[in-house]
Each structure stands twice: as C-alpha cells, then as structure tokens.
C-alpha cells in the first residue's frame, strides 16, 4: 500500500471518528454520507467532505495534523437556493497527487463561518478576500477588513445579484 492510500484511509477514519463532533449535540453516530471519494483525473481532488460550519475548525485541524496545506478558500453564491457554499482546498506537500476539499453550505441571510486563522495563518488573507467579494463573516478573524477592494466600498461584487 502506498503513502497516498495510507493517508487517504487515515484522513477518512479521522473524519468519521465520533469525537469529531465536539459539541455533542451534532450526531452521536458519525454521518459518513458527507464524505465522498472523487476521481482526481476528473475533478482534480481525491476526497470531498461536506461539513457543518461548527465542524470546520476540527476538520481543518485534522488536515493540518496530517501535513496538508491550505491552498485556497472561495465561495459560490447559489442565489436560487439562497445559499453560499464555501470551498476550502487542501493539498499534501509531500505525498504526491493528494487533494482534499472541504465544502460548507451556509444561509445567504446569515452568512457566518468560524475562522481558520488559528489553524492555518494562510486563511487570514483568503478569508478577507471571501469577505471582500461575498460579505461572508468569519467569526474570530483577527482583522476582517477589505483586502482587494477600496476600504470604503459598500458592495459585494461576486454576489449574483450585484450588477455593476
């Protein structure tokens, strides 16, 4: 068994372990339907994990512990469903060809997520960018200000209902 398979099994086990739901009230029985194996050649990733907002820091902590690095954070505005979906892309720096995606769906009205800055310092700028473009708030972010747009901008350009 090669390193890639070992890593895949380790991460899958950690994700499905019951202690991941730290707040107790989530689920007593781990929900494995949120995990999906992907075809790298087709989708460009190997493992996809749909998690709840409160599970995000723990899930990112698991990936950090396994030696992955955070490559990017981005969001999608599903305006018909009145939802934002946030994508977190991770890659392993030593084990070749291994990518993990965390996906998290939140309401468009109350767009809030926990910040990952304490786990990955890289999240700082990426989360600022998502805040800048979509207006999603990252709780306990050290400096959630506009990064690419002017500081006095009063719009979120990548929301689908924004028209220039």
């Amino acid at each position: 068994m090669d390193a890639r398979n070992e890593l895949h099994i380790a991460i899958t086990n950690l994700f499905t372990a019951p202690e991941q739901c730290a707040d107790g009230e989530s689920t007593a029985v781990p929900d494995t339907t949120t995990l999906k194996n992907l075809d790298h050649a087709r989708n460009g990733a190997d493992l996809e994990h749909h998690c709840l907002p409160e599970q995000l820091p723990a899930a990112a902590g698991i990936l950090e512990g396994q030696g992955l690095m955070l490559e990017s954070i981005t969001a999608v505005d599903w305006i018909e469903q009145q939802e934002f979906e946030v994508f977190y892309d991770f890659i392993h720096t030593d084990v070749a060809n291994y990518r993990v995606v965390l996906r998290c769906t939140i309401s468009r009205i109350q767009a809030e997520l926990p910040s990952l800055c304490s786990v990955f310092p890289a999240a700082n700028w990426h989360e600022r960018e998502v805040f800048d473009f979509f207006g999603i708030h990252f709780n306990s972010h050290p400096d959630l200000t506009r990064i690419l747009l002017p500081e006095d901008a009063d719009f979120y350009p990548l929301r689908k209902d924004y028209m220039p």
């Binding site: 989708n43 690095m69 490559e71 990017s72 310092p121």
Partner: protein, 373 residues
C-alpha cells in the same frame, strides 16, 4: 547578518513603501512601522491594480475569458493560459492531441525562463547592480522573438485554445530554440554565475536574509521557488503531473536554507532544468494535429466542481471552476501563487533592517497584477 535587534522600540514612525516605489515592481504598497533602521511591523496593502477578473469570467462564455488570463501574470502568461485551459478541458472532457501538449510544454518552459531572467535582472537592480539587467534582457529578447514568431504577441499571449494551441511551430522556431538552448547554456556559467552568483557583495546582501522555515511555508500555503528554497520538494509538474511532464526527465531543485540566497539558487537551477525539458520536448515532438477536432464553439460543461493546478514561475496556480451546465462559468476562482507567498512577508520581515527587508521582498518574485487579479 543583522545587527543585534533592539529589545523594545522607543520611537517609531510609519513609512509608506509604494504604491509607486521602484522596489515593489508595480503598485504594491507596504505600510512599514520603523524604529530607526529596523522594521517593527510590515503590512502589505493590496488592491491598487484590482480588476475583478473573477466577475469578468462569469459575464462571458468560456472562450471569452481566455485573453484575460494573460493579463494577470504578465511575466509567465502562458502558464495562466495553460491553467485555464486545463480546468476547462477537465470540465468539458476535451482530449488534447500529443503534438499540442508538447508545443504547450515547450512554450511554457521558454516563457518560464524569460520570467526567471526578468526576475533576476530586477532583483539585482533592487540590490544596486545595473549591469546584469543588460545581459538578462539580451537573452530574454531572444525568447520573446521566438514566442512572437508563433504566438503573435510578445508579452500577453493568448496562444492556447481548448483542446490544443492555435498555430503550429515551424522549422525556424525549432532551429531558433535549439540555438537559444546552446547560447544560454554557454552564457549561464560565465555571464550569470561568474559575474553575479559568486559575487561577494551579492552574497553579503542576500545570504541568511529573510529566512523562512519549512513549517512557515506550509502554514502560509507558500509554493514555487519560495517553498523549494525552504526545503519543501513541491512542484506541481512532479507532484500533480499534468500535460506531458511525466514523459520528460527533469529534476526539481530544492535548497534547505530558506534564505534569499536559496530562493535565488532555486530559480537559477530551474532555468537549466527548463532548458533540459525544452531540449527533450523538441526531440520527442510528434507529428499530428495541434488542436482537438470537434471542440464546440460554445462549451457547455456539465454541472460540477473542478480544480486544476499548474506550476507557474512563481508557484502553484489553481483554478477552481464551478459549472452549472450553462455556457458561462458559474464561478471561477484563481488561486494565485504570489498572493499566498506575500502573506508571510509581514511575519518574516519583522525585526529586519529596511535594506534587508527590500532584498527579501525582491527574492519573493512578486507580480502585482497576479496578486490583485
């Protein structure tokens, strides 16, 4: 090495570096809090050349975004062409003919050398050496002439198409590229390494300056020569092989020191490796079509989420594409390498002397339009 750093700062002042400062190579602004010659806090301020390419991508169809890709990293534009093509081809399931893949690799690698040469020239200019610029631009000019011959432009190329490339290479391009390989191989040790790399002034200026640890690189998501200069063997061309890179024999230069000298050496060695790649690709260049047959004008990939990464001269460039089955990209996110590489600047530059902080900034090889997108 730095002089001993003061334990506490008594009187500080704020210095604005940029957005029109020559050492930032564009419109980057760094708000530096200084105590005398020492940097207390450095805070990059971005967005001066922000153009919202990601919204532009949503407005048009897939092919219409192609020319914009080259306007981001204008020094390694073909890699951005390649990255965008890769993710769209993945989403739409387009197969690329082998000859087109080889032409892509040859042109991308030529462009990578041009990018490294320009970085080398500008970096040394930052440090006060003017002459190297003239040598580097002489060689870079040869590459631009070669690329102009087949792509039609000199800087912001729009050469790749979904499923291949738009024009074929001719014999003159091939012989010209072979002549260029011989020429640069001869000039690298004499003009580049003897004149500059071994120069004591350069070594004093960049050795042990701006040390980034392996762990810092990983936590900040650094890639490219910055990560490889810190001992991380991470290059998308080997790590997540795409195109015909697996069929070519080349090495990934890795230096463990993590200082500006290590990043310098990684880029210089990469020039040699790129020459090796081009030489092999020219030898192996097969006959055949240069573009896949029957690629529809208006692509309509099925709904889904796709990711594709390529290695640019500055690091791992990722495209995250979300399709909803229509003829426009529903969402296209560009993960630009220098955005992440610059995010560790604040932490590392703290406590440096201002002249070292500028040398460190130059060693990161920043292209501002790519950070701001």
């Amino acid at each position: 090495m730095n002089l001993p750093r003061p334990q506490h700062y008594e009187e500080t002042f704020v210095l604005n570096l940029g957005p029109q400062h020559p050492a930032t190579h564009g419109v980057l602004r760094i708000k530096v809090t200084m105590d005398g010659e020492y940097v207390v806090k450095a805070e990059p301020v971005l967005g001066y050349i922000h153009r919202m390419h990601e919204k532009i991508a949503e407005q048009g169809n897939f092919a219409q975004f192609m020319p914009y890709t080259a306007r981001m990293d204008y020094l390694h534009a073909l890699a951005f062409n390649h990255g965008y093509c890769l993710v769209v081809e993945r989403a739409a399931g387009i197969e690329v003919p082998e000859r087109a893949e080889y032409i892509r690799v040859i042109t991308v690698e030529l462009n990578r050398i041009a990018s490294h040469l320009l970085w080398w020239a500008a970096f040394l200019l930052d440090l006060g050496g003017f002459t190297p610029l003239l040598y580097a631009f002489d060689d870079r000019e040869q590459i631009l002439d070669l690329l102009e011959r087949i792509t039609g432009s000199r800087l912001t190329y729009c050469y790749f198409r979904f499923g291949g490339v738009c024009t074929d290479v001719d014999d003159e391009f091939i012989s010209g590229t072979r002549a260029f390989i011989t020429r640069l191989r001869k000039r690298l040790p004499t003009m580049y390494h003897s004149l500059v790399t071994g120069n004591i002034i350069l070594i004093k200026r960049i050795k042990d300056i701006g040390i980034i640890s392996r762990e810092q690189c990983r936590l900040y998501g650094a890639s490219g020569p910055v990560a490889r200069g810190s001992g991380i063997d991470f290059d998308v061309r080997k790590h997540e092989p795409y195109s015909v890179y697996p069929e070519l024999d080349f090495d990934i230069p890795v230096y463990p020191d993590g200082d500006s000298m290590a990043r310098y050496m990684v880029r210089m060695d990469e020039i040699e490796q790129s020459l090796r790649i081009i030489e092999q690709a020219l030898d192996k260049l097969p006959d055949g079509p240069i573009i896949a047959a029957k690629v529809p004008k208006n692509l309509k990939p099925e709904a889904g989420a796709f990711y594709a990464a390529v290695e640019t001269a500055r690091g791992s460039l990722g495209h995250r594409l979300i399709c909803d089955g229509s003829k426009n990209p529903y969402r296209l996110k560009l993960r630009s390498p220098t955005f992440c590489n610059l995010s560790l600047y604040a932490e590392v530059a703290e406590g440096m002397m201002i002249a070292d902080a500028l040398a460190f900034l130059g060693s990161l090889d920043l292209v501002i339009p790519e950070i701001d997108r």
